[in-house]
């Protein structure tokens, strides 16, 4: 049963990823991104990370994806403003060739290492356990991320309010 | 007494930094620099008076500097270095007098640094120390050509620095390799010349190492083929620098060959000897002919310097006592004569703002003193008897004939070479009728005569009583020559 769910999720994940990269229209890419994020949330669930699942749905899908789609729609690119680019098979082959060694290395490592799932505590991945972990061992990174978020917020505001006549 | 050499070395640096920190006015600066150069001259004279002609390396001072790599602050003097030290100590006050009117402070600072660098090169007995000073004397020259020069000064400053640094880089590599070899074979790091001279290499390595040193010195001298920086650099340089370039810097190439080349690599230099001699001979003829059609006084005498330096190098490589004495004698006398001529070109340039030969002429009829001194130095360069140049050329020619007949014939051509262009230059510069720029040419002032007269007197004394100076370094030279010949056998 889990395997079936996994394969379905993996299918959505991969096809979403492929859509992101290979669709000409940005909006299709965004839909592919949505698929990826949702499928990713599913993956987390499969891994017993219930809190991650929730966070992924809330933040990843609810905030990031929606924001992206909103931006894409608001910019409303015309065709002449789109990058004039044909996705050529030769280029795909070339980039794939370049990426292949990295993939090879990673897979090599994965196969060599031969991981297995360890038995887990019953409260693994629950909000309670995560919260405990977060506020005992991970306080500092947590705070740093909060500052990062603050910075990003300020940055985004500054950028979008920047006067346009700086550069012609 | 122990620290006299260090004082000579560091006094100019100290003065430069003190003056720089207090940001003194130009008047103070020129007084103090002139005073310090006189002090250095005094120290040099004191050193000379305590110098023992038979004594080999003297005033040796050695203290550890970067002990981990065995780099020492190691200085000392023998007769030949002392000769060069005296030359620079004597020339610097004259140069400072010659630029008395100069308003740009950079002149004084750079010249002080230059003096320190050159003194360091002359004294250094540690190869890293030597390399340090060798490069540091290039910097003031680079700055001065670049900021106070004439014509395409930026390009020419780059050209001189790139070409010379290219050579010295190869030398640095060789130095480091030597030190490393000392570490691997003897067990501790050392860059001391006397230690490195003990090392033994297989023939291929030593030829490569000798070549690396040779390249640095050949560019500095410059031998034929490495000379294209010379004329542009001379023509772009301000007077003070061109005097130092021609009178001292170029000689240091020969000195380096003598001190380091011949001490470290007796045998592999033998491998290069025919090629170097060939380059020298080509240089003698080539530079002389090249100078004929030059239009700029500085370039003409640049090539003349080149020809003489080829001759000096030739003398050095023929390794017999006549040629060595002659080479070193020429080194001293040509330094004086070329310093004189370039100082005078500077004076000429200040009066006319123009040193293009085509615009000059007729100076002799309105400025006889200028004409006399100019002609005297020019003739001294051609090696007229009665000036030191003749003695030196005679000795080198005799040595060249001892070495090989045809080498002697070409070496004797220097007698012809210099006059070909110098007499024509004199004709167009001094004689004939006055032109626009020379119409109101002022004769030499008392100070200018004061600058030039010591040089004239030295040239005359060296020409009429050569034994005075020859006996002075005869002992050093004979010892080194025997050591060298012993090394070859």
């Amino acid at each position: 049963m889990e395997s079936i769910i996994f394969f379905v999720l993996a299918f959505f994940l991969l096809s979403g990823a492929i859509m992101i990269v290979f669709c000409k229209e940005s909006i299709y890419s965004a839909i592919g991104f949505l698929m990826v994020m949702v499928a990713m949330a599913g993956m987390f669930a499969l891994l017993h990370h219930s809190f991650l699942f929730l966070a992924q749905i809330l933040v990843g899908v609810g905030a990031v994806v929606v924001l992206s789609i909103m931006i894409i729609l608001s910019i409303n690119l015309k065709d002449e403003n789109q990058p004039q680019q044909n996705i050529m098979p030769s280029k795909i082959a070339l980039t794939t060739l370049m990426v292949a060694p990295i993939v090879g290395l990673l897979l090599y490592a994965v196969i060599k290492a031969d991981f297995t799932f360890a038995p887990i505590a019953p409260n693994f991945g629950t909000i309670e356990a995560m919260g405990k972990e977060l506020f005992t061992h991970w306080v500092l990174p947590f705070e740093i991320v909060s500052i990062l978020l603050l910075g990003a917020m300020v940055g985004a505001i500054v950028l979008s309010h920047r006067r346009l006549d700086v550069k012609s | 007494m122990q620290h006299l050499l260090s004082m000579i070395l560091f006094l100019p640096l100290l003065v430069a930094f003190t003056m720089g920190i207090f940001r003194v006015s130009i008047e103070t600066l020129r007084m103090v620099t002139f005073g310090s150069s006189l002090m250095v001259l005094l120290f040099a004279v004191v050193v000379t008076s305590y110098f023992n002609v038979e004594g080999g390396m003297q005033f040796v001072h050695n203290s550890s500097w970067i002990s981990h790599y065995g780099i020492n602050y190691s200085i000392g003097l023998d007769a030949i270095s002392l000769l060069l030290l005296l030359l620079i100590a004597l020339l610097m006050p004259l140069i400072f007098l010659a630029i008395w009117e100069e308003q740009r402070k950079g002149y004084f600072y750079n010249l002080l640094l230059l003096q320190a660098g050159i003194s360091g090169v002359i004294m250094a007995q540690d190869l890293i120390l030597f390399y340090l000073f060798w490069e540091s004397m290039l910097l003031p020259i680079f700055i001065m050509i670049g900021s106070y020069g004439y014509g395409m000064r930026h390009f020419n400053a780059m050209k001189i620095i790139i070409m010379t640094v290219f050579g010295s880089m190869s030398m640095l590599l060789a130095i480091i390799y030597l030190g490393y070899t000392h570490y691997t074979t003897v067990g501790f790091w050392s860059f001391e010349l006397s230690n490195l001279a003990q090392l033994a290499f297989d023939s291929k390595t030593s030829i490569l190492l000798a070549g690396a040193f040779l390249l640095a010195f050949a560019i500095k001298i410059p031998l034929f083929g490495f000379h294209t920086w010379m004329a542009p650099a001379y023509s772009s340089s301000p007077t003070a620098i061109v005097v130092v370039l021609s009178a001292i810097m170029a000689k240091l190439g020969v000195y380096g060959l003598y001190r380091f080349g011949f001490t470290l690599f007796e045998i592999p230099l033998g491998f290069y000897t025919p090629y170097v001699i060939l380059l020298c001979l080509i240089g003698i003829v080539f530079y002389s002919i090249h100078a004929i059609m030059q239009r700029d006084l500085k370039r003409i005498f640049a090539f003349s310097s080149g020809a003489h330096l080829s001759l000096i190098t030739l003398g050095l490589f023929m390794t017999n006592i006549y040629a060595w004495s002659g080479g070193l004698y020429l080194l001293a006398t040509h330094a004086i004569a070329s310093a004189g001529i370039f100082l005078m070109i500077g004076m000429l340039g200040r009066r006319t703002q123009n040193i293009q030969i085509a615009h000059l002429g007729g100076i002799a009829s309105i400025a006889p003193r200028f004409a006399f001194f100019f002609a005297f130095f020019a003739l001294a360069i051609t090696g007229v008897p009665g000036t030191g140049g003749f003695v030196a050329e005679l000795l080198i020619i005799v040595g060249a004939f001892k070495y090989h007949f045809w080498v002697g014939v070409v070496a004797a051509m220097t007698m012809l070479g210099a006059i070909l262009f110098i007499f024509w230059t004199l004709q167009r510069t001094l004689f004939g009728t006055t032109q626009e720029v020379t119409k109101h040419f002022g004769d030499l002032s008392a100070i200018e005569i004061g600058i030039l007269t010591p040089l004239v007197i030295i040239l005359l004394i060296t020409g009429i009583f050569p034994s005075l100076l020859l006996d002075f370094f005869d002992a050093s030279l004979s010892t080194n020559l025997e050591a060298f010949q012993g090394g070859v056998k």
Partner: protein
């Protein structure tokens, strides 16, 4: 029972697709999405290892990563808008300010 390898395989492949997208496409959106893709794949890997070792650390980092993704999205999208307003396009080739300019003739 699923092995961790399956998850890792998927993550690696998604990562690779992200890389390819990064190199292949000129549209800034796609570039952005590719980067998100790679981040997510790393996220997945973290989660997997958290599960493999039975420890919560990986999960926590993954959680923080989600926050980072959000921050990154905000900045990147703001930049896209900014660039779009200047160049009227979302072409990555149109941003060439880093090019070496030969100043001498």
């Amino acid at each position: 029972m699923l092995s961790p390898d399956a998850f890792l395989f998927v993550a690696v492949v998604i990562f690779a697709i992200g890389l390819i997208g990064l190199m292949l496409r000129r549209s800034l959106f796609v570039v952005y999405l590719s980067i998100e893709l790679m981040l997510s794949s790393v996220n997945l890997i973290l989660a997997t290892f958290s599960r493999v070792h039975g420890e919560m650390g990986g999960g926590v980092v993954s959680l923080l990563m989600i926050a980072v993704i959000a921050a990154e999205a905000a900045i990147f999208l703001a930049l896209i808008i900014y660039i779009y307003r200047i160049t009227k396009s979302v072409d990555s080739q149109s941003i060439t300010q880093l090019t070496h300019k030969r100043d001498e003739a």
